[in-house]
Amino acid sequence: MTAARITPAEKAALREPWEDIARQRQAVELGMWAFLASELLFFSGLFAGYTIYRSIYPQAFWEAGAETSLWFGGANTAILLISSAVVALVPRAARWPGLGRFARAMLWIGALLGVAFLVLKGFEYREDFHEHLWPGPDFKLHAEGAELFFSFYWCLTAIHAVHLVVGICLLARLAVAGARDPGWFTETPAVQATALYWGLVDIIWTVVFVIIYLPGRGG
């Protein structure tokens, strides 16, 4: 049994029914991957619908795509990619002796970048409302299918934003709990799991960026 020598930090991170922190870490990671698979299927409903309608109304999607704000979309993509790089440092750093504070600082930076994303998104939404890009009677564009593009724009970005809010809360929670109990922070599998979730939220966004902001640009 490996359970013979358990450090106090490991003891703080162990949860029922586990007796071995390495095994618990394996389990949490596997669980998070399974959850991410589930999340991918959740978004795939939207992606499938988008793909079908885009193949039916290619021209309208082209025109409507040009109405999105590439500036907001591009800035937000950059912000999330930087946050991804920052959060990706955390799982290694958290376990590295002496880098606990650094890891928690990275968590806060990741969370703040997430908040910055949401703030920009809010300004972008305001602009969209002013330009009558909400599907309905006042809708700006007239091509059949353009309303559909913006239906997906609103649904994709809003559902992504909900995930981002959850992600920000998870990062902040980890940073706060880690500051309270640095020993727990070095051992808990929650660090890896949170970083994985943040990675998914960012990857989803890169797909959203490509299919929402890039149609109708250039060529």
Partner: protein, 565 residues
């Protein structure tokens, strides 16, 4: 938590000599509502699902009363729509989908693999709360006046026209769905990481395999339903025209997303039932399960192919003929592993020492009804026949044979088979056998006439109908009375047995699974000493093995040629 002694006086006199196991670990409401013990959470689920089962049952009882006469005279057409919708939503999402996994899976999975609990006990409790919150929304819908879209929530009726509580009902399903996903993740991780030493994948009992495969289906299919419902709600609430032709959308997309979940959902209901039956039949035939490896491959094949047959619900929706062809072909393909399972259960019986305890009777009921449901499924998988039978009672009868005849029979098989493990008591055998036979009889009485009237053209979801169908509807409603009695009986005698039932001992059936190696009811930590596994499962009659317990008594009695009851 130490043993509370709140109500010991109310228990029978010899309680001091009876180890109540996990049931004795706290008697307060708090000790139940905040428990992380998988066995207690299983009980919480069982109670919740039982309540919903009876609410859904009352709804359909009112429908069956309405259908006794051809005219619409007992409830209005609008009330009728709300009743069958409520029946469908509750029975699918608040009984059938969670039924076996959340109760028996929860209780047995750790015991069967020799673990102390599921991988994430708090997540497990959380998933129960999600189910309860979803259930609360459903009760709200019920009290507020119901929802009339049918359980399928088809757009654009649900998203634009319906004047009923669509959003609350969709939220109910959405939330409960995430409860199921949480359970699925828990089961997958538990099976991967917590097996006892020596318990290799191909030594797992088939019930564990069934829980594992069903969990994979759950986590991959349920989120798609969640998205379909989210988009439907977005359309209803915010007016985004995703399924609305006026904005260029297509209502058929909703049907695709819906059935991408709801066809695998049939397998979510039936795979656990197959797992139960694969435990029960070897035990009461005293034989190793025939073709274990192929039983595993069949489960995996069903869960994979099951993802690619959803289009057979939409043959008449204007789907492309080429798509129809592929979906039809794959629907036939998925019947192959199902048939392998039926043949293997049958072959397990060959030269077995078969005894007819209640779980075995229920398991036989499952095999018979599932076979009927499966074979009529082949009728519906062929496009010309489906075009004739679409939206008729033939379809209703078919899926009730699979989902109710199959899953509910297996649920009761499991309930009787593991009752002694869960409670430490035996159920009364004679009553249970009677209920099992009555359920089989009542079920066929209710649903067989529906095949006939459906074939003759009686459409589903109508409260009034031409008088020539009355004879079948009267038969069906009369059968429903028998079926209701058969469902109520276990509620009575099982409750009775909690107090007056015979003490069961740890392994009354002489069964081989690890769950039988611990005491009944099991202690909170499941095993005093974690087991190791050295044999394949279903090792009935290994060399030098002597039958014990109930099985020995049964064999002895049958050798004497007498009845053992």
């Amino acid at each position: 938590m130490s043993d509370a002694v709140l109500d010991d006086t109310s228990l029978p006199h010899d309680v001091s000599t009876f180890d109540k196991g996990y049931l004795g670990d706290g008697h307060t409401l708090r000790s139940w509502l905040l428990t992380t013990d998988h066995k207690r959470i299983a009980i919480l689920y069982a109670l919740t699902l039982t309540i919903f089962f009876f609410i859904g049952g009352v709804a359909i009882a009112l429908v069956r009363i309405e259908l006794v006469t051809p005219a619409q005279d007992f409830v209005t057409a609008d009330e009728y729509n709300r009743l069958f919708t409520l029946h469908g939503i509750i029975m699918v999402w608040f009984f059938l989908v969670p039924s076996i996994p959340a109760t028996f899976g929860n209780f047995l999975l750790p015991l069967m693999i020799g673990a102390r609990d599921l991988a994430f006990p708090r997540l497990n409790l959380f998933s129960w709360y999600l189910t309860v919150i979803g259930g609360a929304f459903t009760v709200y819908v019920l009290l507020a006046g119901g929802v009339d879209t049918g359980w399928t929530f088809y757009t654009p009726y649900s998203s634009i026209y319906s004047n009923s509580h669509v959003i609350a009902a969709a939220i109910a399903v959405f939330v409960a769905g995430f409860g199921t996903i949480a359970t699925g993740i828990n089961f997958i991780v538990t099976t991967h990481t917590m097996r006892a030493p020596g318990l290799t994948w191909f030594r797992l009992p088939l019930f564990v395999w069934a829980m594992y495969t069903v969990s994979v289906v759950i986590i991959l299919a349920t989120p798609v339903l969640a998205m379909a419902l989210t988009l439907m709600m977005a359309e209803r609430f915010f007016g985004v025209p995703i399924f609305n032709p006026q904005g260029g959308g297509d209502p058929i997309l909703f049907q695709h997303l819906f059935w991408f979940y709801s066809h695998p959902a049939v397998y979510i209901m039936i795979l656990p039932a197959m797992g139960v039956v694969s435990e029960v039949i070897p035990c009461f035939a005293r034989r190793r399960l025939f073709g274990y490896d192929f039983m595993v491959y069949a489960l995996v094949a069903i869960s994979v192919v099951g993802f690619f047959v959803w289009g057979h619900h939409m043959f008449v929706s204007g789907e492309s003929p080429y798509a129809n062809l592929v979906f039809s072909f794959l629907s036939f393909v998925v019947a192959v592993p199902s048939a392998i399972k039926v043949f293997n259960w049958t072959a397990t019986l060959y030269r077995g020492q078969i005894t007819y305890e209640a779980p075995m009777l229920y398991a036989f009921g499952f095999v018979g009804l599932f076979t009927m449901g499966g074979l009529t499924g082949l009728f519906l998988a062929s496009i010309p026949i489906d075009v004739q039978a679409t939206d008729t009672y033939f379809v209703i009868a078919h899926f009730h044979y699979v989902m109710v005849g199959g899953t509910v029979s297996a649920f009761f098989a499991a309930l009787h088979f593991w009752w002694s493990k869960i409670t430490g008591r035996m159920y009364p055998e004679t009553w249970a056998r009677f209920a099992a036979v009555l359920m089989y009889f009542g079920f066929n009485f209710t649903f067989f006439p529906q095949f006939i009237m459906g074939w003759a053209g009686m459409p589903r979801r109508y409260g009034s109908y031409p008088p020539e169908f009355q004879i079948y509807h009267v038969l069906s409603s009369a059968g429903a009375v028998v079926l209701a009695a058969a469902y109520l009986m276990p509620l009575g005698y099982l409750t009775w047995s909690l107090r007056w039932g015979r003490r069961a001992g740890d392994n009354p059936w002489g069964a081989t699974g690890l769950e039988w190696q611990t005491s009944s009811p099991p202690p909170t930590h499941n095993f005093d000493k974690l087991p190791t596994v050295e044999r394949a499962p279903y090792d009935y009659h290994p060399e030098g093995y002597v039958e014990t317990g109930e099985a020995a008594r049964t064999i002895e009695a049958s050798q004497k040629g007498g009845e053992q009851e």
